[in-house]
Symmetry: C2
Subunit: 192 residues, 2 copies
DNA sequence: GGCAATCCATACTCTTCCGTATGGTTTCTG
DNA sequence: CAGAAACCATACGGAAGAGTATGGATTGCC
């Protein structure tokens, strides 16, 4: 039995630290990102950390950049391959709704918008996603101005939902009820 | 010239500390709530604080309770006096949109959902507001299930908007554009 | 196998912040 | 006006966490 459940790599790389940092952020938020805590969790001491990174901020920045670039090809990459623009938005909604796992980091970062390091990252990511939504709404038939506002509304609903049902544990909505909610969203937000 | 701009009250009460705490939370978040910092800001030292409160947690709890009860009579109290149920929702949207000042504490608390003390408060407040929205939608003509989902969607959009345009500084939407967005929300979310 | 680069442990320092102890000062009250 | 209660300052102790210094261990490479 080992302390952590990791398969006991004898030596660590910078990537290992970054991934562990993202994992910890998803679980306990950016505020909980302490180097000694991370080191314990990885089965080493601070001595290791300060070889790979110059400071704690450096680790956070590296982890954020890694997360940003991963999300770029993964989250948006898939969806862009749905040919029919009319099918694209409902499909997007349903997919996002049913894999809330990758959104944990995003939810954690939403709560860390006071840390100056995360603001630019979140600004870029949110901006790109909103632009994606905007063009999707235009392709679905909305005029430019309406498409933009609908994208704002949609993305705000997404962000708010993360906060309310993910972080906060609001009246724990169950599975069927949740599906009904998603379909209600689709019916309300996507033009027929 | 004084250190802070406060009118130099010679002695302080518990209420003074609670109000100062809320102010600080609105400005810099819950994490910045430190007793020595607050004391400096009030022109006294820790000695004063620990006469009024047993601990830092006690201050936070007191401040949260004060905020919760204030919001209860202020935010919801006014709106309930709008007679026509059909006019009520659009009016609510427009009012909320144009006094974002009282929402700063709420936005700050959204980012503090990892602190166990704020979770129950936010759960209660959000729950009450959602119930209010749900009955408003029913009075506007929606059947029960749809009213509930529409309330969820609306409130999520509200919360998300706070995060995106308040905390994060997303493409600084200007005044006219913002009004157009609010009207778009009304047209999209409120049944004709 | 031995040398150099890489990786890590140990043992510090420094800062920040919570909380306590204790005595002083102001204000209220009889 | 005197004593008590309310309020505050100063000076500690202690925990937590960032960063540094330095030497030991491990690995790749010739």
């Amino acid at each position: 039995m080992n302390v952590s459940s990791k398969p006991e790599r004898t030596r660590l790389s910078a990537e290992d630290w970054e991934l562990a940092a993202l994992h910890l952020i998803a679980e306990q938020g950016v505020g909980a990102l302490a180097v000694e805590a991370l080191a314990r969790q990885l089965g080493v001491t601070k001595g290791s950390f300060y070889w790979h990174f110059r400071t704690r901020e450096a680790l956070l920045n590296a982890a954020l950049e890694r997360w940003e670039q991963y999300g770029e090809r993964e989250v948006l990459g898939q969806i862009e391959q749905i040919a029919d623009p009319r099918k694209r938005l409902p499909e997007l909604f349903r997919r996002v709704a049913h894999e809330l796992q990758p959104h944990r980091v995003y939810a954690a970062l939403l709560k860390a918008l006071d840390h100056p390091q995360v603001v630019p990252v979140m600004a870029r990511v949110s901006q790109r996603r909103m632009e994606f939504l905007t063009t999707a709404y235009r392709e679905a038939g909305l005029p430019a101005q309406q498409a933009l506002n609908r994208a704002r509304l949609t993305y705000a609903a997404y962000v708010g939902f993360l906060q309310l049902n993910f972080t906060l544990g609001l009246p724990r909505i169950n599975h069927e009820e949740f599906d009904a909610y998603v379909e209600h969203m689709i019916a309300t937000l996507i033009p027929a």
